[in-house]
């Protein structure tokens, strides 16, 4: 289709010394499926409405400055491609979601190699399908949640591919609400006020190989179904309500080969059902996994739990959640028959983690001899922790 379009293409060049000096003018003059080449320079323009299929190329990184007035680019047509721009300073408002790029009811868009700076919202995409956001940088200097927006914000979209982007210092790095069948791959989301990635009411989506570092909380997946999460890294999400991954009211998710390192809570699970956790690494978190509310059929298999302050915390019934063949660095059992599986079951919930749940200040007693003693006595004869909460086939060596 593209080749056909290019065949008809007519190119308009924009620069300070050209016949066409503004992007708005170029769009007005361009025919559908035309190409606009914007040369290096600073363009003080806002509300640039792209209402026809266009191919816009920034040459040598032209800067489009919205002067904090309104939207910068507004896409209202299918098949719009924008690449090579620096877009900055959209307006900031408590009533309107001003964005550097606003895409509404437009399909087959493609934004590549752009830099969005000092944005309120970066990409704000509504009711659009089959788009690609690839290799962009989105950043702001958010200081509080109410006066900042999201980096890549999707609402009622489907089949969107968000790849190789870097989003930081925003409220949510990437936000998805009512988004279906989309993929989020290989992005880096860091230093955001709230979440690195946030799913709401979104089903059948996937995210792979992303890195979420030092966000208010890493990733929140809420009220969503059939989400696949593989190969992601969640690190250094520290803070009072902080976690690598929050699962809240979600069903049928797969969480595989992720690394959770140095988070207050690796995964916080609330009321989630039919989730499988396979081959993830939990390294030096406060809690690896914290399970609250009614959770059914959560299966943990072949994960590595390495040097976490607490492995698992539970405040509800065991239901039919299972732990099988995981490696626990705090396991002290033996393997007489040398089959690589410990002969004594491992109990991942310690009595002390119950106490800390009830009285958080007791955390200052972590790793004290007294706590070891009460944990040991609980291990020998469980009174407070669910009897069936065991990994009966703990591994002797971590899974590579």
């Amino acid at each position: 289709m593209f080749i056909v379009i290019n065949g008809y293409a007519q190119t308009i060049e924009v620069c300070n010394t050209c016949a066409v000096k503004s992007i708005n003018e170029a769009i007005a003059k361009s025919k559908p499926f035309g190409k606009i080449m914007v040369q290096k320079g600073i363009y003080l323009e806002h509300d640039i409405i792209i209402d026809k299929p266009l191919h816009m190329v920034g040459i040598n990184n032209p800067i489009v400055d919205g002067e904090k007035k309104s939207y910068v680019f507004i896409v209202k047509s299918d098949s719009v491609t924008v690449s090579g721009f620096t877009i900055k300073n959209p307006g900031q408002s408590y009533t309107k979601d001003y964005a550097a790029v606003y895409i509404s009811q437009s399909n087959h868009f493609k934004f590549e190699n752009n830099t969005l700076e000092k944005v309120f919202f970066g990409f704000l995409i509504e009711k659009s399908h089959y788009g690609t956001i690839n290799n962009n940088q989105v950043s702001s200097n958010a200081v509080d949640q109410s006066s900042s927006g999201n980096g890549i914000h999707l609402w009622y979209c489907s089949n969107i591919r968000i790849e190789n982007n870097e989003v930081h210092n925003l409220r949510d790095g990437i936000y998805l609400e009512f988004v279906k069948e989309s993929e989020i791959i290989n992005n880096k989301s860091y230093d955001n006020m709230r979440y690195g990635l946030h799913f709401m009411f979104s089903n059948h989506d996937e995210y792979h190989n992303n890195t979420f570092t030092n966000n208010g909380a890493g990733v929140a997946v809420m009220f969503s179904k059939f989400i696949k999460m593989t190969g992601n890294t969640f690190t250094q999400n520290w803070g009072t309500a902080s976690y690598g991954l929050l699962l809240k009211e979600i069903y049928d998710a797969e969480i595989e080969n992720n690394t959770f390192q140095e988070n207050t809570i690796g995964i916080n699970v609330e009321g989630s059902t039919r989730i499988t956790y396979i081959r993830n690494n939990f390294i030096r978190n406060g809690w690896s996994v914290k399970i609250a509310g009614a959770c059914y059929t959560n299966n943990f298999k072949e994960n590595n739990f390495l040097n976490n302050s607490f492995d698992i915390s539970y405040n509800s019934h065991m239901n039919d959640n299972t732990f099988n063949s995981n490696y626990w660095s705090s396991y002290t059992g033996y393997d007489l028959d040398k089959n690589g599986i410990g002969d004594v079951p491992y109990r991942p919930v310690k009595l002390f983690s119950y106490i800390v749940n009830k009285t958080p200040e007791t955390i200052v007693l972590l790793r004290s001899l007294f706590v070891d003693i009460i944990n040991f006595s609980e291990k020998v004869s469980p009174v407070f922790t669910p009897d069936e909460l065991v990994d009966s086939t703990p591994l002797m060596k971590p899974i590579q």
């Binding site: 250094q236 520290w238 803070g239 009072t240 309500a241 902080s242 140095e262 988070n263 207050t264 809570i265 030096r284 978190n285 406060g286 809690w287 390495l306 040097n307 302050s309 607490f310 660095s329 106490i355 800390v356 009830k358 009285t359 958080p360 200040e361 007791t362 955390i363 200052v364 007693l365 972590l366 790793r367 004290s368 001899l369 007294f370 706590v371 070891d372 003693i373």
Partner: protein, 260 residues
């Protein structure tokens, strides 16, 4: 003082107990590092052991050394020496030789393992610092107990009790009172309570190295302020220093008044 220190130190360095203590750390360090091949885990295990063991050994050695060298101390008292010179010298001799066993015993396996290239060097250092502080504190407490009790059996009893109290019972009471009074704001109280127990203080220093993420996340603003900034590190170290200075000062005072 330096002369007394030197001779006490030589005396102890040649005692088989020092070797046993040294070999224990050497063995423990080697086993944890080389058989496990997981430095982080080794450091955590070592920290758990050091926090409990160095106070125990410090108290027992301190008391034992004092009582065993009582006659020799009398001989020294008849020499033209100040009393504080004799006792502080002996105290330093014991504390330094114990600390040396710890530092060298753990140092050898760590260096053999290639510590200098690894990122664990700071964990190793805090391990050594905490262990040394605890040795100095509990040896000083032991000398205090021994100076105040002529009866050897009683002295030993008090020393063991002191260790048991600070290592276990204190935390038990602490935990129970936190749970009982959980409806009140407890963060200041619990931080204050840790300051009054050198073992808890050392544990806090270790937590600062290992579990800081967990602590930062789960607790209130005061904890965040304490653990999240250098305040925690500095005040814990300062408190540990006070825990050394105070008992040593008391050795000084007590020994000046005591009859032999």
């Amino acid at each position: 003082m330096f002369k007394i220190l030197k001779y006490s130190f030589y005396d102890l360095m040649r005692s088989s107990w020092s070797y046993v203590y040294f070999l224990f750390y050497l063995g423990l360090g080697s086993v944890l590092l080389f058989l496990n091949n997981d430095v982080s885990k080794a450091v955590i295990t070592l920290m758990n052991i050091i926090v409990v063991l160095t106070p125990l050994i410090g108290t027992i050695f301190g008391v034992m050394y004092y009582y065993n060298s009582r006659e020799f101390t009398e001989l020294l008292l008849a020499q033209p020496l100040k009393r504080s010179t004799i006792f502080i010298g002996q105290y330093l001799g014991v504390a330094i030789s114990l600390a040396m066993s710890l530092v060298i015993g753990l140092g050898i396996p760590f260096f053999a393992y290639g510590l200098l290239q690894s990122t664990e060097i700071f964990n190793f250092l805090s391990l050594i610092i905490v262990g040394t502080f605890l040795t100095f504190i509990f040896t000083a407490l032991a000398f205090n107990i021994a100076l105040s009790n002529e009866n050897k059996i009683k002295g030993f009893g008090y020393a063991i009790l002191l260790w048991l109290f600070l290592a276990v019972i204190y935390d038990g009471l602490f935990l129970i009172s936190l749970v009982v009074f959980q409806d009140y704001p407890l963060d200041k109280l619990s931080l204050t309570a840790t300051m009054f127990n050198p073992i808890d203080l050392s544990r806090i220093l270790i937590l600062l190295k290992l579990d800081i993420s967990a602590l930062l996340g789960y607790t209130g603003a005061i904890f965040q302020q304490f653990f999240g900034t250098n305040l925690g590190m500095i005040s814990s170290l300062a408190a540990l220093l006070i825990w050394v200075i105070f008992p040593v000062y008391r050795i000084y005072k007590k020994s000046a008044k005591k009859d032999f």
